[in-house]
């Protein structure tokens, strides 16, 4: 029992009161304004399909890997996109090892819905041989440190990883043209995924009934706030998904206000992701000549085990 108590994360009454009273005068504990987003630091590793995002204290690592599998029976011409989350107790002692918690499931679902429902990733281009072979894209999201607003950070990490991912090129061969040949990366340049647009998740926190609204809540604010809403929008202003959790009711006027704020934030975040990916691409092109022979191939196999 005591172990459980020691691991559960808690906030003092002083902090709870202070966060609420300070918000009444539009002050947040990290010196931000209520509608100010934290600075995003994005690191894209040398490897294809990996990224690390820092949003204040929060750190999330994204990893994209691919595997050739048989497609689902009802969708023989579509590739598969799946998202897995890893909440390690190293990030936050309140995460229990093993069984994924409620938050882990919700986070995975929000990111998944944003990407899938808006058809951001073109799954049809992942088909190699209808009914037999398609690429299954797997996105792994590792939470490295929890400083609040995991959903937004995880979503950005997933997008950055997807944009930098390259899958090996395939072609059909053999006598009957039914044999799949996977070309190693040194022989044919691996292909990037087709990503139509970037659905950006932006979270809002609601506090009691004073209609206080904050964007990008921190860990402490998450413990105090009554309700949260995550809107997934892209830079064109299309709404891809909305997730509302927590008890606090939100009037329609406030939802519209949130969506407007989210759209403007989404544009700047999209630009930031694209810039980071651009830098990665130029670096990648520069070192292409000297690439290690098995850099991509090995990695894919390792991740599948």
């Amino acid at each position: 029992m005591e172990g459980r108590l020691a691991n559960s994360w808690r906030l003092t009454l002083n902090d709870k009161n202070f966060i609420k009273t300070a918000l009444l005068s539009e002050i947040r504990i990290d010196g931000r304004k209520p509608f100010e987003y934290l600075l995003i630091i994005m690191v894209i590793y040398r490897e294809d399909g990996s990224s690390e995002v820092q949003l204040g204290q929060t750190r999330v690592m994204g990893m994209v890997t691919a595997q050739l599998v048989q497609p689902y029976r009802d969708r023989p011409k579509e590739g598969i996109l799946s998202i897995f989350t890893e909440f390690s107790p190293m990030a936050d002692p309140s995460f229990e090892p093993g069984r994924p918690g409620e938050l882990a499931v919700e986070l995975g679902r929000i990111v998944d819905r944003g990407l899938r429902e808006s058809r951001a990733v073109d799954t049809e281009s992942l088909c190699i041989l209808a009914g037999k072979f398609v690429w299954a894209i797997r996105i792994d999201l590792h939470i490295l440190d929890n400083g609040g607003n995991l959903v937004d950070a995880a979503n950005i990490a997933a997008l950055a990883a997807l944009l930098t991912f390259r899958r090996p090129e395939c072609s059909l061969g053999g006598e009957d043209g039914q044999e799949v040949i996977v070309h190693p990366p040194e022989i044919r340049e691996p292909l990037p995924l087709t990503v139509h647009h970037l659905p950006i998740a932006i979270s809002f926190g609601f506090f009691s009934n004073e209609s206080i609204l904050v964007i990008d809540p921190t860990h402490n604010e998450e413990a105090v706030m009554g309700g949260r809403m995550t809107t997934t929008v892209n830079a064109n202003g299309d709404i891809c998904a909305i997730q509302k959790s927590g008890g606090e009711g939100v009037p329609r006027r406030v939802i519209m206000q949130c969506l407007q704020l989210a759209t403007s934030k989404a544009a700047s975040i999209t630009k930031q992701i694209k810039d980071a990916v651009e830098v990665f691409n130029t670096e990648r092109a520069l070192r292409k000549i000297k690439r290690h022979p098995t850099s991509t191939g090995d990695d894919v196999r390792e991740k599948q085990n």
Partner: protein, 240 residues
Amino acid sequence: MENKQSSSPASFVDSTVVPGDVVLDLSSMTNQTIKLGGGLRQDCDAISAMKAGTLRFSKPNKYWIESSQKRYVPCVEDTILGIVVDSKADNFLIDIKGPAMGFLPVLAFEGGTRRNIPKFEVGTLLYLRVVKANFGMNPELSCTDASGKAAEFGPLKDGYMFETSTGLSRKLLSSPACPVLEALGKKLSFEIAVGLNGRVWVNAASPDTIVVVANAIMKSECLSEAQQIIMVDHLLKNIQ
């Protein structure tokens, strides 16, 4: 004493030590009483280090190892900030950011008797002193000083508590005063309580001031003295 230090292994003072280093040899310093702080242990005549850090010495006889970590290892006579987690018949359970819950006996208050047991809600912030910190048992805390007086210990009202590393909290308590606090104190008036377990509580008249002080302290960890003063000036300019 000073002479002995230069000849004996006590010249380890102010240098970096790693676990296993024998930092003091008691056989060469008889007739002395020394007090050991965090990170040191005694094996017969040898005092050895248990963690990596800098060995510190404070006159007349205190030795401890200073390092910076997120988790606090309780040590006798440290003053800390704890959060009430649960109350039992004999003890309050206190979260002290350590490996085990701290026990605060319900009678460990000034003039505490069975009749006037204080009531603390879960989540109350307390300023406490560590009384016992032995291996394999929960550290025991107290809300009084060694002579049984309340002396500033007890619940902290209002304000804002934030977490830092243990190294930073020790730096804040050092004398002469830490440059951040000195620079802030010239312009603002605020109340501060620093726990050696890496918790800092700040209170002031307006939330603005609390936010500035809290942020200045959190940012100061990796800055030099001059940088700290520049940073504080910059922050103060922003709010005026």
